[in-house]
Amino acid sequence: MKLIYQLGEYTLLMGRVFRKPENWAVYRKQIIKEIYQIGITSLPIVAIISVFMGGVITIQAAFGFTSPWVPLYAVGFTTRESIILEFSPTIVSLILAGKVGSNIASEIGAMRITEQIDALEIMGVNSACYLILPKILAAVFINPFLIAISMFLGLLGGYVMGIAAGAVTSYEYIFGIQSFFETWKVWYAFTKVVVFAYIITSVPAYYGYYTRGGALEVGKSSTQAVVISSILILIFNLIITQIFFT
């Protein structure tokens, strides 16, 4: 029952978010701020994780393929497939759900309990639209770039660490990451990124917007936002995969 209530509340909130902004110039500034906040500040963590994960995937693949029938370039191929299909779009989005999601829920939640949202409403500003729309648009715009960087750094990490560990040669790795390339898999990955970007921003914004109480409740909203966003990412990952692979 609570789930249906929350779903209804979320839908109504989104109805208020996707309205015509009062002043596009103000919203444009907000979107640029959010691109920096959501995208640029996430770059270091995404880069570090991607490089190391790329390396780990390469080394694991190299030592997993012990059969002489499996060519060594399969290591590069496996690394590319793992990174493009799953690691960068899904795992990085889950990490962003933690970083960006908790930030959004606590920011909007704190604004709610300190009456800043009431102040916006009294001024005649559509608070839902002003606070949430720029975050959604910013994430949907910047996350594909972030994930593209993650893919590149993941493959680079695999290359550097694979060679350093003696797991693969430069030629085999590069040959492997170019083998059997199918463009639709990139579209599949970026479709997921856009859907996940929407989830990562809109769900925490919902939990923040309807925070009631004090600082304790802001913390609870933030935790709940991350948990629900992560679950939704996994569910939509399955749905999108089912659609693309059948």
């Binding site: 009062e22 002043n23 103000v26 604004m111 009431d118 409403e121 009294i122 001024m123 005649g124």
Partner: protein, 249 residues
């Protein structure tokens, strides 16, 4: 002028305010007083449209706010300014950006005009030169003054103040009261102040509505509040030793 007529509001079956009617006069500082939990803030939130009343009317110069559609309500809201208890300044914006926010959002003023207006209202609340500070860098009294500056930056017709001097020392509280009163006269606004501070009542209470247990118990002015003959109001007014000693009760 704002008129409220027969306003009733309940939450979860519990009536918070019942059948309240009052006229808040233009160019005057109108006070809503009463004990904590009596329904003052609920009435204020109904008046500014944050709560929908169960019944009653809120008339801004005869225009019924409750019956308006969202777009019409938004137009009225552009004529409102509100000072919140804790200021409610936007944490991510500087003082200047906070004050300029309503101008950015709803006016077609040039950047130069906006800067001029911001500097003017900041000087009116004695915060000149603090433009680049963030709310976290301001003291409690400064936050109230900054909230007031933002509330009046678009030169509103109606100013609402929710316990403007709560949490302030007596000297700063008087400064805030005087500022609200001066600005009311200067901009000829209909100002509504919620308070339970007797200093404020006696300083700036040109018209007073006393709410007791959710009902409009007494209406008057600062000149009549001390001799109202109303038992509930007397209990409220003379609840402190100071008031009893000074006024020999």
């Amino acid at each position: 002028m704002i008129e409220v007529k027969n306003i009733t509001k309940s939450f979860d079956g519990r009536t918070i305010i019942e059948d309240i009617s009052f006229t808040f006069e233009k160019g005057k500082t109108n006070l809503i007083i009463g004990e904590s939990g009596c329904g003052k803030t609920t009435l204020l939130k109904v008046m500014v449209g944050l709560h929908l009343p169960d019944k009653g009317e809120v008339l801004f110069e005869g225009r019924d706010f409750i019956k308006m559609d969202a777009k019409q309500q938004q137009e009225i809201r552009k004529e409102l300014g509100m000072l919140f208890q804790a200021g409610a300044l936007f944490d991510s914006l500087t003082l200047e950006e906070n004050v300029q926010f309503p101008l950015d959002m709803f006016t077609s003023m040039s950047e130069e005009e906006k800067k001029e207006r911001v500097n003017f209202v900041l000087s009116r609340v004695k915060l000149e030169g603090k433009n680049k500070l963030y709310p976290a860098e301001l003291s409690g009294g400064m936050k109230k003054r900054a909230g007031l500056a933002r509330a009046i930056s678009a030169f509103p017709k109606y100013l609402f103040c929710d316990e403007p001097n709560s949490g302030l020392d007596p000297k700063t509280a008087i400064v805030i009261d005087e500022l609200i009163h001066e600005l009311t006269k200067e901009f000829n606004m209909t100002t509504i102040v919620i308070t339970h501070d007797m200093n404020s009542v006696l300083e700036i209470g040109e018209t007073i509505l006393f709410i007791h247990k959710g009902k409009a118990e007494w209406k008057g002015t600062k000149e009549t509040v001390l001799n109202s003959g109303n038992e509930a109001l007397d209990n409220f007014v003379f609840s402190s030793e100071f008031m009893r000693t000074v006024y020999k009760r």
